[in-house]
């Protein structure tokens, strides 16, 4: 058997069903072998975009995504997306071809090991035919256990050699399946802290959601009279299950939520690292003691400190034990569960500020939330516009955000395409800025080619809105950030999808209804005003208490 076949077979054994990337001399044999084995190949228009899709695929599926490139230039294209995936701690394997082993004069030669290090991914080399299968196993093992991208780099001459086809042991077989139980002394300590507290906040993160600990969180929240907040990654989770949900903890919280959170004297984090975004470097919880439940062996929080009580445990088990312990000690708090808090949490209506032919971005979010059913997942894009959706989407649905993961614009539509593929082609929408969407526009054509029902809602302010508003605040010329765009609805149609350019709420509703009736790759170019500045920007740029 050829090495590329052994490699392909090993990928299939690792559970690879979808591969994103672009063919070239150094990976096409392997891709052919994959296709013969029933793996779906998604030919993209740029390798970095393919990686973005594999990233979205992995985040949605919860297992390693796969991207592929040819040698040298193909690899070099990965840079930005790779760093994003690395910062997002996405498990992923990049199968990269290489020029013949040792030939540094080859046109496409690149020191791929050093490049991988610079773009923050792990590196496994296929140096010998007899070690090929082991290399795949190692790459997947590292991706899973370290939860990060790994580059598997295979010189084309090695790939074309013959080798034995031994039985392959998938990396999953090397992972013990154990639930980690909380230390009883830790449960005891947590009970003491809660008993001495008056205002508890429970923060649910991505880890809690993955562990499906919703019911346990709601029970603890009920017992402790707690407010329930989420991290950005768990946005809107459980928001339809309690009247004391305050949304995201951090800069994206509304004013009432921010004020209430600052009164907390105890924070219980579940599957949330409590990074500096969530706790605003500690400033959001100046008086609180922290209890943290997480599977990681240790976590340093965003205030540079460790929790007062750290429970390394599986979320469901730890919460169940904690709730039982509180009950047996008759600890029960009313805490925040009062009529006054409920009143404070009622969101006052806003008056929209549209101009002729341009909508208020807040109204756009409201219409999207109303018209798109909860089964349709959401990915939040980048730029200034993303603040509106991040703060204002209310409906309970799957939400993915790329904020804070290297801060590159343009990744979100790619993540959405990958997530849709992972979910068996169920429709999902992404709310993205005009510049961000245009950055990887060709991949909309990829979505059309494979009939991936992605809805791209472009919040089109015809500007680099982020820079426009920052320029305004710092006395630079905002006009330099104004960049006109063509009608993107027509562009989408030309690329083979559905599309509309809308300038009123009515037109927006009509376009959304068409997508809901018949989900297919669609772009809705929504023209929005530049006159509405987001709440986070008003806080950061002008120190406004809003």
């Amino acid at each position: 058997m050829k090495v590329y076949e052994v490699l392909a077979q090993a990928f299939v054994a690792e559970g690879t069903s979808d591969v994103f990337g672009m063919m070239g001399d150094a990976n096409m044999h392997w891709m052919n072998a994959l296709a013969q084995r029933g793996v779906r190949l998604y030919e993209v228009r740029h390798e970095g975009s393919g990686l973005g899709m594999a990233d979205g695929w992995a985040r949605a599926a919860g297992r390693p995504g796969v991207v592929t490139t040819t040698s040298g230039p193909g690899v070099a294209q990965l840079a930005t997306s790779m760093i994003c995936a690395s910062r997002a701690r996405t498990p992923l394997v990049a199968f990269c071809g290489e020029t013949p082993w040792g030939d540094q004069s080859a046109v496409q030669y690149l020191d791929q090991r050093r490049f991988a290090a610079a773009i923050e991914c792990g590196f496994v080399h296929v140096s010998r035919p007899d070690l090929a299968a082991e290399a795949v196993q190692k790459a997947f093992y590292l991706a899973r256990t370290e939860s990060r991208p790994i580059m598997l780099s295979a010189p084309i001459d090695v790939q074309k050699q013959e080798c034995e086809n031994d039985d392959y042991v998938p990396s999953l077989n090397l992972l013990p399946r154990v639930r980690s139980l909380p230390d009883p002394a830790g449960i005891e300590a947590a009970c003491e802290i809660i008993r001495d507290s008056k205002r508890v906040v429970v923060i649910a993160g991505r880890g809690a959601r993955r562990a499906d600990a919703g019911e346990q969180i709601l029970r603890l929240q009920e017992q402790t009279g707690a407010l329930l907040a989420t991290t950005l990654q768990a946005k809107n989770w459980l928001c339809d299950r309690t009247g004391y949900h305050v949304g995201i903890a951090g800069l994206y919280g509304n004013k009432a939520a921010m004020e209430l959170l600052q009164e907390a004297d105890c924070v219980i984090a579940v599957g949330a690292s409590l990074n500096h975004y969530t706790i605003e470097h500690g400033y959001l919880f100046p008086e609180a003691r922290y209890i943290q439940i997480d599977t990681a062996p240790h976590v340093v929080m965003g205030n540079g400190a460790v929790a007062d009580c750290y429970l390394q445990a599986d979320a469901v088990t730890a919460l169940t034990q904690l709730s039982q312990a509180l009950e047996s000690r008759s600890v029960r708090l009313d805490g925040y569960h009062t009529a006054d808090v409920r009143t404070r949490l009622t969101i006052p209506p806003v008056e929209f500020r549209s101009e002729p032919g341009r909508l208020d971005p807040r109204e756009v979010i409201q219409v999207l939330d109303t018209e798109l059913p909860g089964e349709i997942g959401l990915v939040l894009g980048s730029g200034h516009q993303t603040d509106f959706g991040t703060m204002l989407f209310q409906r309970s649905r799957e939400v993915m955000s790329n904020y804070g993961m290297f801060g590159a614009i343009g990744q979100a539509p790619l993540l959405t395409i990958g997530a849709i593929v992972a979910g068996g082609n169920k429709p999902a929408f992404v709310v993205e800025g005009d510049a961000s969407f245009l950055m990887h526009l060709p991949e909309f054509e990829t979505a059309c080619r494979y009939d991936i029902p992605v809805l791209v809602v472009v919040m089109n302010d015809e500007a680099l809105g982020a820079e426009y508003h920052k320029a305004m605040a710092s006395g630079l010329d905002p006009e330099l950030a104004v960049i006109p765009t063509p009608e993107l609805g027509q562009v989408a149609v030309a690329l083979g999808g559905g599309g509309a350019t809308v300038r009123t709420a009515e037109q927006l509703r009509a376009a959304l209804n068409e997508y809901v009736r018949n989900p297919r790759p669609t772009v809705i170019d929504v023209r929005i005003t530049r006159d509405v500045v987001s709440v986070p920007y008003r806080r950061l740029l002008y120190g406004e208490d809003v």
């Binding site: 605003e280 470097h281 400033y283 920052k470 950061l540 208490d545």
Partner: protein, 193 residues
């Protein structure tokens, strides 16, 4: 780095303005969110200041020193400290000069505040806006404080008006002054032991 350059026109005499501006308790009462703490042997004193950056309230604790030159009516204030999370250090330096203007007193304040640490990224450009709002508030308060004492023998009509519009700041000022005096006595007592 945040810079402050402000000229405040106070409708009062330089000596009255100097009286206020050279008294830490008076100055503190002009800054909302500021409180005076213990004073030290070298003449410096502790102070705390709560500032709202966006929706986040941050409490700073500082050691403040004040150098005064009553001859030239010039002063120099330095403060250095940390916030309650111990994540950010700050230093502030300001000089102020009181001089006679055209029928009023002019106070020239020049200062620099530098924030170092986590907060710096959190407040970004907004910190400058917050400081300039605080400066404005300080100026307003200073003008109020320096207003000449109301004459008790004023006409009844005016007296009526004054009673109904007595600013709450006035009583706060009184309270602060009494509190400061108590604190001083307590301090002296503690040191004597």
């Amino acid at each position: 780095m945040i810079t402050i350059t402000e000229e405040i026109a106070v409708p009062s005499t330089p000596s009255r303005v100097w009286e206020i501006i050279s008294d830490p308790a008076e100055v503190v009462s002009c800054i909302s969110g500021a409180e005076l703490g213990a004073s030290h042997e070298d003449g410096s004193f502790d102070g705390t200041l709560v500032v709202k950056f966006g929706a986040v309230r941050v409490k700073f604790a500082a050691v403040v020193a004040l150098e005064l030159d009553p001859e030239t009516l010039e002063g120099r204030l330095t403060a250095r400290g940390r916030d309650g999370q111990r994540a950010t250090r700050f230093t502030a330096e300001a000089t102020f000069r009181v001089r006679q203007g055209d029928g009023e007193t002019r106070v020239q304040v020049d200062g620099e505040i530098s924030l170092n640490g986590k907060l710096a990224s959190l407040v970004e450009a907004g910190a400058g806006a917050v400081v300039s709002r605080m400066t404005k508030e300080f100026s307003d308060q200073l003008i109020q404080r320096c207003a000449p004492e109301r004459a008790p023998e004023a006409a009844p009509g005016i007296a009526l008006v004054t009673t109904t519009t007595t600013p709450p700041a006035r009583s706060l000022f009184g309270r602060l002054r009494a509190w400061w005096a108590r604190l001083r006595r307590k301090e002296a007592h503690a040191k004597a032991e």
